[in-house]
């Protein structure tokens, strides 16, 4: 690899441009299905949703509104939630963020983290409620470590997406 490569006007295929964010979210969803841990309580943060929100915070125009449906269904298959759970929750989150984006024009680091924290809280609580409706799961307080991890690790996921973004763009 040359030490100084051209960083301007690189050739990028559509697959490279659009596949990178989609694939990174899918890998995030698969993370929990790949880790060989038999957990006694739900502690893993929803990595797929965190990737989705990180891309949304970094590049607000990147996701078409309907992307929550296919990516959410994939996440459901991987995470073991009832099918349709993340498909619904993620679409609702993207719609809500869209409305929010029309109301609040200016955005910065803290604003991004705050809306991501709200979205993650909604997703974790809704996921718990859906599992509870289907007669499984446990007490609500068991979701607290997962929520704290998800909100706390979110800035790192945004950094990861920023690195991927530099590799992605021409």
């Amino acid at each position: 690899m040359p030490r100084y490569d051209n960083r301007i006007g690189r050739r990028r295929t559509r697959l490279h441009l659009w596949g990178t964010p989609v694939l990174s979210v899918m890998l995030g969803s698969m993370l929990v299905a790949i880790l060989p841990i038999v957990a006694q309580s739900p502690f893993m943060p929803p990595a797929g949703l965190m990737m989705l929100l990180a891309w949304r915070v970094l590049r607000p125009e990147i996701w078409p509104l309907w992307i929550g449906f296919p990516l959410g269904l994939f996440d459901d298959v991987m995470s073991g939630q009832p099918i349709g759970s993340a498909g619904f929750v993620w679409t609702v989150i993207l719609l809500a963020l869209d409305i929010e984006g029309q109301r609040h024009f200016w955005r910065d680091y803290w604003h991004g983290w705050f809306i991501a924290a709200l979205a993650l809280t909604f997703a974790v609580l809704a996921g718990w409620a859906i599992v509870h409706l289907s007669g499984h799961g446990g007490a609500l307080r068991l979701m607290a470590p997962q929520l704290v991890l998800a909100i706390g690790l979110f800035p790192f996921v945004v950094r990861l997406c920023a690195v991927l973004d530099r590799w992605r763009l021409p």
């Binding site: 349709g84 619904f88 679409t91 289907s134």
Partner: protein
């Protein structure tokens, strides 16, 4: 920083229609998700093919990583064994001597047991083992406590089969794919197991709490008879689980419920065995079983 203005198409008709279409597709997607959700809650075994496909994709990686983690995880124990070898050797020798006499006694008791059982015309059914496998991963981000097995319908595993480890009961099979199966763990709220106390056969019900413990409630007494230190095993009432599989040890009392810790920790068990569902009527026809005590056969179905 101001956001880009792709959501403000201005006078461009085509862009306006395109924007409108994304809203319509998104809302339709949300509604379809809700319908899927209702279907999958009503029928937990639904979308089996979809889930099985997902499990099959991640199975090789998870199983490979699991072997790595188990190997690395045991290194400290092996090193400690080397360091303690001398003193451990002497202690183990004493233990072997003590155990030998106990083994001989146990052998005699087993012989006597067989003789008594043949006198009572009780036929011992086989353990009903279908297949043996490993737990490779679990739903660590979802509230449902479900683990995944590296064996599936190709090995004869079917949904509803009990899963146990040498240490005790692990759960029962929820869904199966060709080479994978989902196991509803004992600690899930939806898993209800009829149990009895080992010392005096007091019947109870074990249900999960979702945090690695189960709660034991007595079936037919007013106040809770269970005390810390009690060991409960499956009673075999209502079928599915074979009798006398170790379930949990009571740790503390909380009101009229006893909080117990499962004897088989799914995170540490090496090997698990899938068994055929137990049917009490074919093992030993018993007419005197009180009907009020026995929960319905599908009591533990979600």
């Amino acid at each position: 920083m101001a956001p880009p203005s792709s959501r403000r198409p201005g006078y461009d008709r085509k862009a306006q229609y395109g924007l409108f279409a994304t809203y319509v597709i998104a809302i339709v997607g949300a509604i379809v998700s809700l319908l899927l959700l209702v279907v999958s809650i009503a029928d937990p075994a639904g979308f089996n093919a979809l889930r099985a496909a997902g499990n099959e994709i991640t199975r090789p990686v998870a199983a490979g990583l699991r072997a790595l983690v188990m190997g690395v995880g045991n290194i400290d124990e092996q090193i400690a064994a080397y360091i303690n070898a001398g003193s451990q050797n002497a202690a183990l020798r004493r233990q072997v001597d003590a155990n030998r006499t106990k083994l001989i006694e146990a052998d005699a008791i087993r012989q006597e047991n067989i003789r008594l059982k043949s006198l009572l015309r009780l036929t011992e059914t086989d353990a009903g083992t279908v297949a043996a496998g490993h737990l490779i991963n679990s739903t660590a981000s979802s509230a449902a406590r479900v683990a995944r097995l590296d064996i599936g319908s190709g090995n004869g595993v079917q949904s509803g089969m009990p899963v146990r480890a040498p240490e005790g009961l692990v759960g029962r099979v929820l869904r199966t794919g060709p080479n994978t199966a989902d196991v509803l763990l004992l600690v899930d709220e939806g898993n209800v197991v009829p149990v009895r106390r080992t010392t005096d056969n007091i019947p109870g019900i074990s249900s999960g709490r979702g945090d690695g413990t189960v709660e034991i409630r007595a079936l037919n007494t007013e106040r809770n008879p269970f005390k810390p230190g009690d060991i409960v095993v499956t009673s075999g009432i209502g079928g599915i689980y074979r009798p006398n599989i170790p379930v949990a040890i009571v740790a503390r009392l909380q009101g009229d419920r006893a909080i117990a810790i499962p004897l088989a920790n799914p995170g540490r068990v090496e090997l698990i065995v899938v068994q055929r569902p137990f049917r009490p009527e074919e093992a030993a026809p018993r007419a005197d079983a009180p009907a009020g005590e026995a929960p319905p056969a599908n009591a533990s179905a979600p």
